[in-house]
């Protein structure tokens, strides 16, 4: 009896906590607007990266396949959106038509890359995925002639914003005395996507598929001996990771209203990988934390380091962009050396890495 009561109370506390987090998340953009609209945009970017990192987490964290060309899928998603909703081809398909097409296109590329390469061992796979990412970028850069598909290095501009019914995400609307500006609207949309992806990730992790991925990651031969179809499951990981990347890419294109191959370079892949590694491979909350940290810390540095350097030396010694990149590099090296399981390690991963196998 008393135990039930205690259980109820705990349950209640948990709901209260969740409600508190929900209220905080809903109120966040309005608090940020007080500091500056730029911070809402940065928060949106953080959520976008969290989406990407969660997608990559399926491939790297769950299935243990190091993918260094992940940004290619993001690029495919973004370009699908840009081509289907911009003056470039004079197509203006609605939001709910493009999104699945983008996800499917990215998924197709994921399978295309995965099918011939999945029998390779881990480090080879990493290089092949990297090469694949480069190939996609080179094609995006050059498919402007003889038929202009991607418009080359100039990229595609004036991409349609998201429109759901009469709700246009590029304008400010007044609701109940509150100004919902474009970034704030996107914030809520991205938040919904993030919640969806989190739920999918959580359900996947404990599902039959998730456990099979874990088995493959731990020992592929043993997993196969247990009757797991390793090839199709690895392919599934690639395809799912790629589709999440494609969705994030579509959101990116509509939010920025301009994309060019510049946004889909190798460094971006490495950045998303850093987020996954920093937070803790395989741990959903860790990965989100990694994405938030690696988006916000460089921005904070931008706002502090610049004036600081100007005050101290009278000019910029180290550009913030360089600091950002150094931070990513250091995050990768230091995390691997001192806390290979990440800031928030996944319990299994912790066990696995603490006993270094000979």
């Amino acid at each position: 009896m008393t135990r039930d009561l205690a259980g109820d109370r705990q349950q209640l506390l948990r709901y209260a906590g969740l409600a508190l987090v929900a209220v905080a998340l809903i109120a966040l953009p309005f608090a940020l607007v007080q500091v500056g609209t730029a911070w809402v945009r940065i928060t949106n970017l953080a959520i976008l990266y969290a989406l990407l990192a969660l997608g990559l987490n399926i491939v790297v964290g769950f299935a243990g396949l190091l993918d260094l060309g992940y940004i290619a899928f993001y690029g495919v998603g973004a370009y699908v959106w840009a081509l289907l909703a911009s003056p470039h081809f004079n197509l203006h398909l609605p939001f709910w038509v493009i999104l699945p097409i983008g996800a499917l296109a990215a998924c197709f590329f994921g399978v295309l890359l995965g099918a011939p390469t999945l029998k390779l061992r881990g480090d080879y796979l990493a290089i092949v995925t990297l090469g694949f990412g480069e190939i996609v970028r080179i094609f995006l850069n050059n498919l402007s002639r003889p038929v202009n598909i991607t418009n080359g290095p100039q990229g595609i501009a004036r991409i349609d914003p998201v429109r759901i019914g009469d709700l246009d995400f590029s304008t400010t609307s007044q609701v109940a005395g509150l100004a919902f500006s474009s970034p704030i609207k996107y914030y809520y949309l991205l938040l919904v996507f993030l919640l969806l992806v989190i739920v999918i990730n959580m359900r996947l992790k404990d599902s039959r598929i998730g456990r099979a991925w874990e088995a493959i990651r731990e020992d592929e031969i043993a997993a196969r001996a247990m009757g797991i179809n390793t090839t199709s499951l690895k392919l599934l990981a690639f395809a799912m990771g790629a589709s999440f990347g494609g969705i994030a890419g579509g959101m990116f294109a509509s939010m920025q209203s301009f994309i060019s191959p510049e946004s889909f370079v190798l460094v971006e892949s490495v950045m998303v990988l850093s987020m996954v590694v920093l937070g803790g491979m395989g741990n959903i909350w860790g990965v989100i934390l990694g994405a938030i940290l690696l988006t916000f810390v460089p921005e904070l540095l931008r706002y502090t380091v610049e004036p600081l350097q100007k005050a101290a030396f009278g000019r910029m010694i180290i550009e913030p962009e360089v600091i950002r990149m150094l931070l990513f590099g250091l995050a990768l090296v230091l995390m691997m050396l001192f806390r290979p399981a990440g800031i928030l390690p996944k319990s299994v991963r912790k066990r696995e890495l603490s006993t270094i196998a000979k």
């Binding site: 390469t117 290089i127 092949v128 090469g131 480069e134 850093s274 360089v322 250091l330």
Partner: protein, 307 residues
């Protein structure tokens, strides 16, 4: 077919540089099964250091050849030091860790080196001071410059030297023993850690020379040059069979030829649908084809397929 011959000459020159860089990848991979992702950045640092020295000495009145030699002589130990520190700090503590761990640190090191180089030498490309006036010779309707001849000769000398080192010296025996069974090599009295460090340092010395060569050939260097060059050289090492020295040489030269001929003829072959702007794609397509159809490479032994 003077265009054909011309492409062969260009491809051979480029291929020699790839081969020298690929040797560094393949040596390290052979001995500790690590893809030293940052090797391309060592090439870049070699080129940068050498260029800085050459620029400083450009107006000293010394003969151009001597200036370039001094530049190389400074770049080689600098790269060796970078590689030594890199191995000590980022790779050694992770020996025995899951395979992906050192690969991830290698990526991190590569980014750090790239951006430190950017801070030191700036964002824009550095032009090679025009102190050498290359002679141009004509053979069979194609042109070859003295720089190209020098690159090919130096590359083959380096490759020969490395083969002598690995197959004729005590260090070479130790390296080969370590690559076969590290623990047994240790029991035989080989200082395994020193041998591994030596492998990195020798690879870096080759990389430094390769950096000077490619910089001189293209007439400029930039902090990003190591990325693509390193990747292509790695593809070359895989093509030849990673871990195999002769394979790296063969793979490098083939890769150079494929790139030159592919770039030269892709326009004609595809009715100008694709042009020479696709030159960087060839290496990766070769890589994917090799890994799918012959993962052990042209000369490689079968490697285990477990990560």
């Amino acid at each position: 077919m003077d265009i054909f011959l011309q492409q062969i000459i260009n491809g051979l020159t480029l291929g020699c540089v790839y081969a020298v860089v690929a040797l560094g990848y393949t040596m390290v991979y052979g001995i500790i099964q690590l893809i030293n992702f940052a090797h391309g950045e060592v090439v870049m640092i070699g080129a940068m250091v050498a260029f800085s020295v050459i620029m400083a000495l450009a107006k000293s009145g010394l003969p151009p050849i001597v200036v370039v030699l001094i530049g190389t002589a400074v770049a080689v130990p600098a790269c060796m030091l970078v590689a030594y520190l890199m191995e000590r700090i980022a790779y050694k503590p992770l020996r025995g860790a899951p395979r992906l761990a050192p690969l991830i640190t290698a990526i991190g090191i590569s980014i750090i080196l790239q951006h430190v180089a950017m801070m030191i030498w700036g964002r824009s490309p550095m032009a090679f001071p025009q102190i050498i006036k290359p002679h141009t010779y004509e053979i069979g309707g194609a042109l070859i410059t003295s720089v190209q001849i020098a690159i090919i000769l130096i590359s083959f000398t380096l490759m020969g030297g490395l083969l002598l080192l690995v197959y004729r010296t005590k260090l070479g025996v130790a390296m080969r023993a370590t690559s076969q069974r590290q623990d047994i090599a240790g029991l035989m009295g080989i200082d395994v850690n020193r041998v591994i460090s030596a492998t990195f340092v020798i690879g870096a010395a080759l990389a430094a020379v390769a950096g000077v060569m490619i910089g001189t050939y293209y007439g400029q260097t930039q902090y990003t040059m190591g990325e693509l060059l390193g990747l292509k050289a790695f593809c070359a090492a895989v093509l030849g069979g990673i871990g195999n020295l002769a394979g790296a040489v063969l793979g490098g030269i083939l890769m150079g030829l494929v790139e030159a001929l592919g770039t030269g003829y892709i326009g004609d072959l595809t009715n100008n649908w694709f042009g020479s702007n696709y030159r960087d794609v060839f290496a990766f397509i070769v890589l994917i084809l090799v890994l799918v159809f012959r993962p052990s490479g042209l000369l490689g032994e079968r490697v285990g397929d477990r990560a």
